[in-house]
Amino acid sequence: MSMRRLLVYVMLIAGAVSFIYPFLWMGSISLRPISEFHDLGLFSENFTLANYQAVFDRIPIGRAFINSCFIAGTVTCSVLFFSSLVGYSLAKLQFKGQGAIMAIVMISMMIPGQLTLIPLYQLIVYFGWADSYLGLIVPSLMSGLGILIFRQTFMTIPYELMEAARMEGASEFQILRKIFWPLAKPAIVIIGILTFMGSWNEVLWPMIVVHDKAMMTLPQMVVLFTKGGESGGQFGIEMAANMMLVLPIIISYSFFQKYFVEALASSGIKG
């Protein structure tokens, strides 16, 4: 092995360690008793689930987990369904106002969310949706990025397939459902991952509209737990709560690593 190659490996391995070790350490600390909090190693003879027990005792984290799953799941299904409808209309149909809709999709993506944050909160309060699933879910039901990705994918599907189905009397929705959805699986996976992850990790919006503990999302509750003092500053317990926040994503990532990378890379290029 040449000197240069060796240097490259040293750099990569050092990098990899600095990316993995903090996570391993977090996992280790979350499983160790209070007396070992200052230990920077990974192994101990005293592994225990006491910290996790303490988290469950002090905050309704199970409820927060279910809230997050429900919210991210609903948002993802809605974004997939409605974005594919609009994407199909923009790619394959002709109708009045089509150009205007395309333009407004682009504009809605260009305008930074900070502009609408406060007015949107007012609207949610006006509807009486603060501290409710509606307030957390409804503003995110549609996605401009989802529409653009579907539109691009659908444009590559030949018209001949549609014409044949139309001849047989299929409705536009049947064409979308039976021909376009099955052919758009990669787009569905990409939009699904992006939307679910975005919703799961979102923390600013829940912090604005929700103050009732029963309605909190997982990241919001974990932040409140470590910031608000309920953890008593014991970081074994903080890390246990944090582990519950990252584990679902780490587990899905380890199975679908390739799709995650693809999804996030495509979001950057289009965003």
Partner: protein, 290 residues
């Protein structure tokens, strides 16, 4: 003819839920923000028309300017750091080597994880009492750094964390950019006797310009979106040194109930972001690397 009619009807039906949602949850808030910026409102009493007073206050509000300067300070550290490290790792990973997939997956891990979780973890890593980072530094003889309590260091500390969080994504962008450069270009350069450095300087770097632009724009957007990082780690302190514009907006709205002024901050920030992104695109499109 009939099919065209049903075609047009389907288009309207398929897009109407989106259009309605957009009207209510995008266009109306945009319009309402224009109303709020010229009003004073505490959520309880009726909004009061104040003309341009919110903007006048904004211009002289040193906390706003400090938050903006903090963000620029963040970007001045974050962007170069990000580009140099991501580019170096991408170049290393572009060569055929063992474990390439493993390394790429590892560097990408923090990208998928919630910013809140990363921040909570790094708060521990930065701790001056038995934090991992100060421990590693002590091994090479560097004294403990008060990462989050020194006003001069707290923002760079957040910038380093943000770099760690996003690096994997930018490695993937650079890697895609490098792999898209046709091999014959390098072969021709080799024939002419170009050194590795010259190859990098005159081929790789200029051809990566679009990727550079993407990285700069995305990092800038990330910088202007800083919220949970200072919220968790420092609460905006010490001495306001990590106060971000979004955190300041959040505090104005929900700690002080200054809804009109918070909307004005959001309006100003949105404007600044659009100007920044537009300028970067223009500047980087015309800049020449060779």
């Amino acid at each position: 003819m009939q099919s065209e009619q049903s075609n047009s009807k389907a288009g309207l039906v398929f897009t109407s839920p989106y259009v309605i949602h957009l009207l209510v949850f995008f266009l109306y808030p945009v319009g309402f923000s224009l109303y709020l910026v010229v009003h004073r409102w505490d959520l309880i009493t009726d909004p009061q028309y104040v003309g341009l007073r919110n903007f006048k206050y904004l211009m002289s509000d040193h906390l706003f300017w400090q938050a903006l300067t903090n963000t620029l300070y963040f970007l001045a550290i974050h962007i170069p750091l990000q580009i140099i490290i991501a580019l170096a790792l991408a170049i290393a990973l572009a060569k055929p080597l063992k474990g390439r997939v493993f390394f790429r997956a590892t560097f990408f891990l923090p990208v998928v994880i919630s910013g809140a979780a990363v921040t909570i973890l790094w708060q521990r890593l930065y701790s001056t009492e038995g934090g991992l980072i100060n421990y590693v530094l002590s091994l090479v003889g560097i004294d403990a750094v008060p990462w989050l309590t020194d006003p001069g260091i707290a923002m760079p500390a957040i910038a380093i964390m943000a770099t760690w969080k996003n690096l994997g994504l930018y490695i993937v962008f650079f890697l895609a950019g490098i792999l898209a450069i046709p091999q014959p270009v390098y072969e021709a350069a080799k024939m002419e006797g170009a050194s590795s450095w010259q190859e990098f300087r005159y081929i790789t770097l200029p051809l990566l310009k679009p990727t550079m632009l993407l990285v700069v724009v995305l990092s800038t957007l990330g910088g202007f979106n800083l919220f949970i990082e200072p919220y968790v780690m420092t609460g905006g302190g010490p001495l306001g040194s990590t106060m971000s514009v979004v955190l300041y907006m959040y505090k104005q709205a929900f700690s002080f109930q200054h809804m009109g002024y918070a909307a004005t901050l959001g309006f100003a920030l949105a404007l600044i972001i659009m100007v920044c992104v537009f300028t970067q695109k223009k500047y980087l499109d015309s800049e020449r690397y060779y």
